[in-house]
Symmetry: C2
């Protein structure tokens, strides 16, 4: 259907992967729109994974100060996560998603056919966000993921995607501009403070976003345990679910501790320079917590395989 | 006062002039903010003319998806025009202001001292927008400008600046997102359809923005006359006021007709590819008008000194 809709339209191809999510690619999309004389009534169809969606969505948000766009996510990650909620943006050298806009697409079209062509590693990376939704807000979903291994062909997959979108939409609707002091939209970043640091230090592309988030979820579970909020057995359950779905729970190779800690300090979720995390209260419930001691975070990094 | 407020703060200097208003400068400001670990509670002080204000304001609008900023306009043009209304943005190769955001500053500080250091040519360029406000919405202001030559030292200057800001604020408040089908915020573009085309074809920097707008105001008056809305005597009054304030009413050198017409087609104020102009109903009152014949516009361009 999508193919028919766009058949005769001018198109711009962006290379896949996080290294595309730059101010340079953003400028390319803007120039593409201008070169095709798109006016304020134009509609940009953004077909691709999260990188394409974020970059294209940001271009739509700012071209002529905002034109309509439609998200057609082609990866599991984009279907359950980045296409819903209106966050668009690009990375800067200093960190991920440091520039962008909150700008909702006119529609999000989820078409399962795309998942059949998705490489297994990409599919698994998407499942990291699915597991995240179970952990932060739906114990039943988490238990479902403990019981079955989701694949692109699994009969339950579409329902799981829908459930993830529902959870995200509910969280976003309650706190669209991320102004809640506690909880709110920040909860969606469970595992992401660790994850962003990993991506930043390892260099974009060394880990898929979902893989970094998977290690980050293990890190968040471990940190929650150290703070007395989660049992050791529950940390193991988190790691087992991740492993079951072909996701890493430790760093592939040791990354330097100093750089990881510094990357966390730069993370935009921090307020006034203090470390702030989304942690598990229990399986199926997350909460933000500030003022975490650096020494405890370093312990977690060491357990995850950081060196130095 | 401004100097004291920013004395110990990190700062980034951008070269002056329209050629700075690029995606590259925008990226520089973003990188500057990130390098200084500015978090969501940070405030960007944007001190400079319209180019700095638009570029800096767009960076503030999108860094961490929006931080607070303060406009300190240092040119007459920025004081009466670009600092009020929340339009921020950058130019693309294909045209001016093609990317940006509507994002209001926390405050606009107008400090007359800056005008004493402003080169006369820049001051005159600012007066083009002042004359525009008189033409589009305040006959008394226009008549005042016919009676006196405004200078940086003139006792009435501050009141004139305030009056221009009031007119702009009223127009913007009634149509913030430029969604009005007729009139509304588009009225502020009186003279700008011609002006943008001149800047685009002559190359940014050949004309100051205000100089291009001055020629554009003469063009809009001539087009209004051709459509029977304005007398030949009134066209002369418009040109006399511009000339009195050291502003051009014709092109310095002939620019190619084809390129000027094409640049107009790309102007984002057009809908569905038809030519749309802001024209004078009479001195002191403007209105939008669509479906203008290309031949008539070409006649005006010829009178303004276009060749080819």
């Amino acid at each position: 259907m999508v193919a028919r809709l766009i058949a005769d339209k001018p198109r711009l191809l962006l290379p896949s992967g996080e290294t595309t999510k730059t101010v340079g690619s953003y400028a390319k999309v803007l120039d593409f729109l201008a070169a095709n004389h798109v006016d304020r009534r134009g509609v940009l169809w953004v077909i691709g994974g999260g990188v394409t969606g974020d970059t294209g969505g940001f271009a739509a948000a700012t071209y002529l100060r905002g034109i309509a766009y439609v998200q057609v996510p082609t990866t599991l990650l984009a279907m359950v996560d980045s296409s819903v909620g209106g966050k668009t943006g690009i990375n800067l050298t200093a960190g991920k998603n440091l520039a962008g806009a909150i700008y909702h697409p006119r529609a999000v079209l989820v078409c399962g056919d795309f998942l059949r062509t998705l490489p297994p590693r990409e599919f698994a990376a998407g499942l990291a966000e699915v597991i995240k939704y179970g952990l932060l807000g739906d114990l039943a979903l988490f238990q479902q993921l403990e019981a079955v291994t989701l694949t692109a062909a699994h009969a339950e997959l579409f329902n799981v995607i829908r459930r993830c979108c529902e959870i995200k939409a509910a969280v976003v609707a309650a706190d669209e501009n991320e102004t809640a002091v506690e909880g709110g939209r920040a909860l969606l970043n469970l595992g992401h403070t660790f994850g962003h640091a990993i991506e930043n230090v390892a260099g974009y592309g060394a880990y898929l976003h979902g893989e970094a988030v998977a290690v980050g979820l293990a890190g968040a579970a471990r940190l929650s345990h150290k703070l007395g909020q989660l049992s050791a057995a529950d940390v193991e359950r988190v790691e087992r679910v991740l492993t079951r779905h072909a996701l890493p729970v430790k760093l592939h190779t040791a990354l330097p501790m100093g750089a990881l800690m510094q990357a966390m300090q730069h993370d935009k979720k921090n307020r006034d320079g203090r470390l702030r995390f989304v942690l598990l209260q229990r399986l199926g419930e997350a909460a933000t917590r500030s003022g975490i001691e650096a020494a405890m975070v370093q312990e977690v990094w060491r357990e995850l395989g950081a060196g130095g």
